[in-house]
């Protein structure tokens, strides 16, 4: 199996990355240099004003490392990839499937099943662990909606209905998301999703972690030769990584959302680590961002049993496994797409 490699996150403004033999050299503005062997990395994510030499970018392309450029606050700007892995047959199969209403709805159904089941599992886990501290009635109502979705998903659903259900499941889940925040601090109040810009600390954390998840899923899809832009549930919109958004769905509740909840509930992020702009937008300060990045990297090292393959693997490899399974489903080597169910 592929080894779980590290992602290099560069947050120091004005850093310059270059190639020296088989190493990435990071020179920060104060002149300090650090080296990282390329073979221990699976990607580089640059935040804000970070420069990379073209030779390093080419080398990363050759070695299959994804390099992404984000704004300092984590909005995706651009990605640099090497010459395609050349799996044009797979991509053509993917486009044919995306153009086919039936095929798309089959995969879209799998994707929503993964999302609904994992959203449900997250709510249930919270009830089990903190039943006495949450609004049970509201939780039960949300769970009822998710159960109803699950029931309807037992049979094939047309594409537009599938998309409607995705919205219902998300609304029910986020209506009680604030319930799962147990910190006393009022700055971590959550009254629903908002973004671009996020208007509170919780949304700011969610958006940032989703960006990290998107980078990882996107590079895993590219590594197996799929086109991250062409999705089945998420239709093409220029610049939107449709398939990456599709495959992210199953990971959002248990990987991204739970990470945000535990950072807040354990007091690892604090209200004073956020900055409110005059427009009401909320951003993280540098230390908070580093805390989140470290927690994300650590979470990816946790092991879990892959429910479909029955193998233990670090969660960071689950993206690669799911990308491979998606490729199998697209090729027709599997009779559908099996999402990663979190229990």
């Amino acid at each position: 199996m592929k080894k779980l490699l590290n992602t290099l996150y560069i947050t120091s403004q004005g850093s310059y990355l270059s190639k020296d033999g088989e190493c990435v050299v990071v020179r920060t503005e104060d002149g300090a240099k650090r080296r990282f062997p390329v073979h221990v990395l699976d990607g580089i994510v640059c935040f804000g004003n970070v420069l990379c030499s073209p030779f390093l970018l080419g080398h990363c392309g050759d070695k299959g490392l994804a390099v992404s450029f984000l704004t300092e606050r984590g909005r995706y700007l651009a990605g640099v990839r090497g010459p395609q892995s050349g799996n044009v047959l797979l991509r053509r199969a993917q486009y044919r499937l995306a153009d086919d209403e039936d095929g798309s709805s089959r995969l879209a159904r799998s994707i929503i099943i993964g999302k609904a089941a994992n959203s449900r599992a997250v709510l249930r886990r919270c009830l089990r662990d903190h039943g006495e501290r949450v609004d049970r009635l509201a939780m039960d109502r949300a769970l009822a909606v998710l159960d109803d979705c699950a029931g309807r998903l037992r049979r094939p659903v047309p594409l537009d209905e599938a998309r409607g259900m995705e919205g219902q499941a998300a609304n029910a889940y986020f209506s009680v998301f604030g319930n799962m925040i147990l910190a006393e601090d009022q700055s971590f109040c959550f009254a629903g999703r908002n973004r671009r810009p996020p208007l509170d600390a919780v949304n700011c954390l969610l958006s940032f972690v989703y960006t990290l998840l998107a980078h990882d899923v996107r590079s895993a899809l590219e590594a197996v030769g799929l086109d991250p832009q062409v999705g089945f549930l998420h239709r093409d919109r220029p610049g939107r990584p449709g398939l990456a958004l599709d495959v992210m769905e199953e990971f959002r509740p248990f990987l991204a959302d739970r990470l945000v909840l535990s950072l807040i509930n354990r007091g690892e992020v604090r209200a004073r680590g956020f900055v409110r702009k005059e427009s009401g937008a909320v951003f993280m300060d540098d230390d908070t961002r580093k805390t989140v990045l470290t927690a994300w990297q650590k979470r990816k090292q946790d092991e879990a049993l892959h429910p479909f393959l029955k193998e233990r693997l670090p969660l960071g490899l689950a993206f690669h496994v799911q990308a491979r399974l998606m490729a199998r489903a697209v090729r027709g080597d599997l009779d559908g797409y099996p999402p990663f169910f979190w229990k």
């Binding site: 799996n87 797979l90 030769g225 399974l325 199998r328 090729r331 009779d335 099996p338």
Partner: protein, 203 residues
């Protein structure tokens, strides 16, 4: 054959058709495969001109091709030995690293090289040899009719598989233990996704 495939594809196919499809259709681990091949080519590039060893003319890293089989590749070593009629005849030699015994697919692989040599040179290549194991042992391989037919049959199957670009299902066996692609293969995953989805939906 309208497409030529590397001899290594035949080798992978003989070992396990699914492994072959993973590498040559799905392009799994392309990078590792190519970096490994690159290293080998690098070693071979240094092999230089034909020399003599113990009175036998020996050429290393010999490029091969057969239009009939639709294969191309490189032979480790081709020696020139006196054939049945006393004339010098090409004699392919393969070195297996550290494997305890010669398998059928090794013989077929060597026979495929012989068929390439026959087509390129217009001569008969009746036999070759495989060196294997520790301590080094040598096994003579006679390219008889059944072996040749097996190579041709498997070559046709290989071309059909690559042409259809479909990965055959896994047939797990003891081969899997030594397979570097076990992770990408996921031999346990076949056609049971719907049952899995239904279980995931259970309350």
């Amino acid at each position: 054959m309208d497409r030529t495939l590397p001899l290594s594809a035949l080798q992978h196919y003989l070992y396990c058709p699914r492994q072959c499809a993973l590498i040559h259709v799905e392009k799994v681990w392309e990078e590792n495969l190519y970096t490994a091949e690159g290293r080998l080519l690098h070693l071979r590039a240094d092999a230089g001109a034909p020399g003599r060893r113990g009175g036998v003319v020996q050429d290393r890293a010999v490029p091969l091709r057969s239009d009939r089989l639709g294969l191309y590749g490189v032979a480790d070593v081709v020696e020139l030995r006196p054939g049945p009629d006393g004339r010098e005849t090409p004699y392919p030699v393969e070195y297996k690293r550290g494997s305890p015994k010669v398998e059928d697919w090794d013989r077929e692989q060597l026979c495929a090289q012989a068929l390439c040599l026959e087509e390129m040179l217009g001569v008969e290549v009746p036999e070759g040899a495989i060196f294997y194991g520790k301590p080094r042992r040598r096994e003579r391989v006679v390219f008889d009719a059944p072996l040749r037919e097996a190579v041709q049959r498997h070559c046709r199957e290989l071309h059909v598989m690559i042409e259809r670009a479909a990965t055959p299902d896994a047939s797990p066996g003891k081969r899997c233990r030594g397979c570097s692609l076990a992770g990408a293969c996921m031999p346990g995953a076949s056609r049971r996704v719907e049952a899995y989805l239904q279980r995931g939906l259970d309350p």
